[in-house]
Amino acid sequence: MKFNIFRSHDDRGSGDPTQTPRMGGHVLPAARSDGPDGPTADAVEPTDATAGPALQPRPAEPLGPIKIRARDVSVHYGDKQALHDVSVDIPDKTVTAFIGPSGCGKSTFLRCLNRMNDTIPSARVTGRIEMDGQDVNSKSVDPVLLRAQVGMVFQKPNPFPKSIYENVAYGPRIHGLTTSKADLDGVVEKSLRRAGLWDEVADRLHSPGTGLSGGQQQRLVIARAIAVEPEVILMDEPCSALDPIATAKIEELIDELREQYCIVIVTHSMAQAARVSQRTAFFHMGRLVETGNTEEIFTNPRERRTLDYITGRFG
């Protein structure tokens, strides 16, 4: 059921010319010949620092290979530059948190990863973003297929004005992932189960998705995103509109989803970043200030600005 857009990481570097990755039906121009670089130094750097007393970042775990590699990404909205030369590596099977004060560019950067900025006419993105070694901004990449591969969850739950079932079936339907009704039923059930919503909605799959509570709606939206089997899930402040109990459920869910997906989460809550993420990137004034293992960022940041932010001196 995977799309044939990117090579999955297991067959990378095989050197077999028939393995040339395809994207949107076209042979990609430049498959990286040298194979993926290993995780950068700070990505694999083992952290022996113990958890800080205030926040309890999870102990360092082995990180997956680099899934997304951004280099010198800048974004302009009209004349205004929203993002300045951001370079960051995002590992697979890991939760990466983007933190920083409002307007610091973290959501803007997130929207670059699935080319959602294309839908804003005045936005202009420069720099290079590679996913599994392929430039997502390349002309040969169809943003429609890219977005099928990179799911996104928004700040405000945005279920479509359809039934719960239809909401989850939306992606599989538009991408023609299933061949029969039974197949589709299976996908819907599996996605809802993975999003931890199945038990709550199994008896009312055909009632409107907009009738659910905020937390349920957000989990429905997550189920909708994972129904197309993406490789990456982007979350733009997914809990900012939810109460603490619904937030806890979503965070639990994010932790479970980490097993299978590369997750990038933008959050205003530093406690949440510490709870759910293994990697943290701190943005300030449209620049990436510091990135590193979450534990390290929260206990022993290298940058003064990061320390000031996480200790609440500004932001």
Binding site: M116, T119, Q149, G151, K156, F160, Y170, R224
Partner: protein, 476 residues
């Protein structure tokens, strides 16, 4: 000259405002008043202007009657002998002579002499009336002004009083529209009742024969009058259906194009052009339909008919050869074009009101633009669009000019778009234009039709507004 009297309250109000402000400033020296001096001044201006205005209005409305009464109180015997209509004509000429014009009729002696003498008196009365009105208005203004100026004190709540007057004036303006509607409905109801006394309701609503010619003379034949309005309803419905078949898809799709696909430049050009289309008078659409579209369609169908005659479809060919300029298809099609901007601008608003988060959600799932429009935006906008279409239907039903010029007059119970049909509005126009007597079933039937049309569009509008409203609340 008496029109200038209406300037008097305005002049007085300005003077009172200026004076009132000065007085207020002087009296409030060193104290902190409840209201600002300009508010006291506005109150004083109101108290001066309103009495003066009332007097001037009364003089304008009743002055003529009083003058006529004074003239008649002392009129020559020859005038008394005239019948009412002739006496009215006589006094009309008296006023013309008094105003320096020539009389409309020649009055024989002794009336000619009476005309001159009465005209002299009327001239005197006119000037007395003018001076009197002026004096009375000034007096009323002075009394009001005295009252208002004596009350300019720091503790007077002038601001609240002025606000009260503002509310009153606004309410009066709003009431004009409401009361007019009530009046229209009442007159419609009264005349429709008179019609339904002559023709039973069920015969009117369900009868299939419409032939409103009634006998004027007793010996007239063939004009017994039949008031079955079903063919008219059918014609209205058919034309509405054709119009909506044109306007709904085209309007909706242009709205989708404008709101989802068009760039800012295209939008900046297409939107105003559509609005120009909305501003074209319906009579222009009417003659476009009657003089351009109608003949073109007839030529087209006649051409097809000529090809078919003699062949296996000879019957159809014969029919097509007989198609006329006036047909439901022409009137409905042109009306549909008229409704396109109406549908598209309403739908455009509604589609724009669908939250951006739904579009983002759909695009983020990897949906294309058309998938997003078809599967997310349209279902979300559907209730609102349905409301917009119902509003368009109610306009199509009430539209008059295009159908009058392009649909024809034959009341025929048919759903064939190539036939000549007639509509409720067309029949109302033909029943009430020209010289008509207003006590025959023929003319009164127009009110029956009008009432039916009014009720139908009222229900449509209420339902549509309700739908649009609930839709708007959904996303606020």
């Amino acid at each position: 000259m008496s029109a200038l009297l209406f300037l008097l309250p305005i002049v007085l109000a300005v003077a009172a405002f200026v004076a009132g402000r000065a007085v207020a400033h002087r009296r409030f020296d060193g104290v902190r008043p409840h209201s600002r001096p300009s508010q006291h001044a506005a109150l004083a201006a109101i108290w001066v202007a309103v009495p003066a205005l009332v007097v001037v209005l009364a003089a304008a409305l009743f002055g003529g009657q009083v003058e006529r009464g004074l003239l008649e109180a002392d009129q020559p015997a020859a005038v008394v002998a005239l019948d009412d209509i002739r006496r009215d004509a006589f006094y009309a000429d008296v006023h013309r002579v008094a105003g320096g014009e020539t009389p409309l009729q020649t009055w024989e002696a002794p009336l000619s002499a009476d005309l001159q003498s009465q005209a002299v008196r009327a001239g005197q009365l006119d000037s007395i009336r003018l001076v009197g009105a002026l004096a009375a208005a000034l007096l009323a203004a002075a009394i009001g002004g005295l009252f208002a100026f004596s009350r300019i004190r720091p503790d007077l709540r002038a601001r609240n009083r002025v606000e009260g007057w503002v509310v009153g004036v606004l309410l009066a303006c709003a009431a004009v529209a409401v009361l007019t509607t009530v009046g229209i409905v009442a007159s419609l109801l009264i005349d429709a009742t008179r019609f339904f006394e002559r023709v039973p309701v069920q015969e009117f609503l369900l009868g299939t024969q419409w032939s409103p010619q009634t006998a004027i003379r007793a010996d007239q034949v063939g004009s017994t009058g039949a008031f079955g309005a079903l063919p008219l309803f059918a014609g209205t419905f058919l034309i509405m259906l054709i119009a909506m078949a044109v306007a709904a898809p085209v309007g909706l799709m242009s709205a989708i194009y404008l709101s989802e696909y068009a760039g800012p430049t295209t939008r900046a050009i297409v939107k105003p052009v559509l609005e120009i289309l909305a501003g074209v008078p319906t009579v222009v659409y009417g003659f476009f339909a009657a003089l351009t579209v109608g003949p073109a369609f007839r030529a087209f169908f006649n051409g097809i008919g000529a090809q078919l005659i003699g062949g296996p479809l000879d019957g159809l060919g014969q029919y097509l050869m007989l198609v006329q300029n006036q047909m439901a298809l022409v009137a409905g099609g042109v009306m549909g074009i008229m409704l396109i901007p109406f549908v598209s601008s309403l739908s455009d608003d509604i589609i724009n009101a669908v939250p951006q988060s739904l579009r983002d959600g759909s695009y983020a799932m990897g949906a294309t633009k058309s998938e997003t429009v078809g599967r997310v935006l349209m279902p979300a906008a559907l209730p609102g669009v349905a409301g917009a279409l119902l509003l368009a239907v109610s306009r199509a039903v009430g539209e008059t000019m295009i159908v009058t010029m392009a649909a024809g007059l034959a009341a025929r119970l048919t759903l064939n778009p190539l036939d000549t049909v007639t509509t409720v509005t067309v029949q109302i126009v033909t029943l009430l234009t020209g010289d008509q007597e207003f006590d025959s079933a023929k003319t009164l039937s127009a009110f029956g039709l009008g009432l039916t049309l009014f009720l139908a569009t009222l229900v449509l509008n209420i339902v549509a507004q309700r739908i649009v409203q609930t839709y708007r609340q959904q996303y606020d």
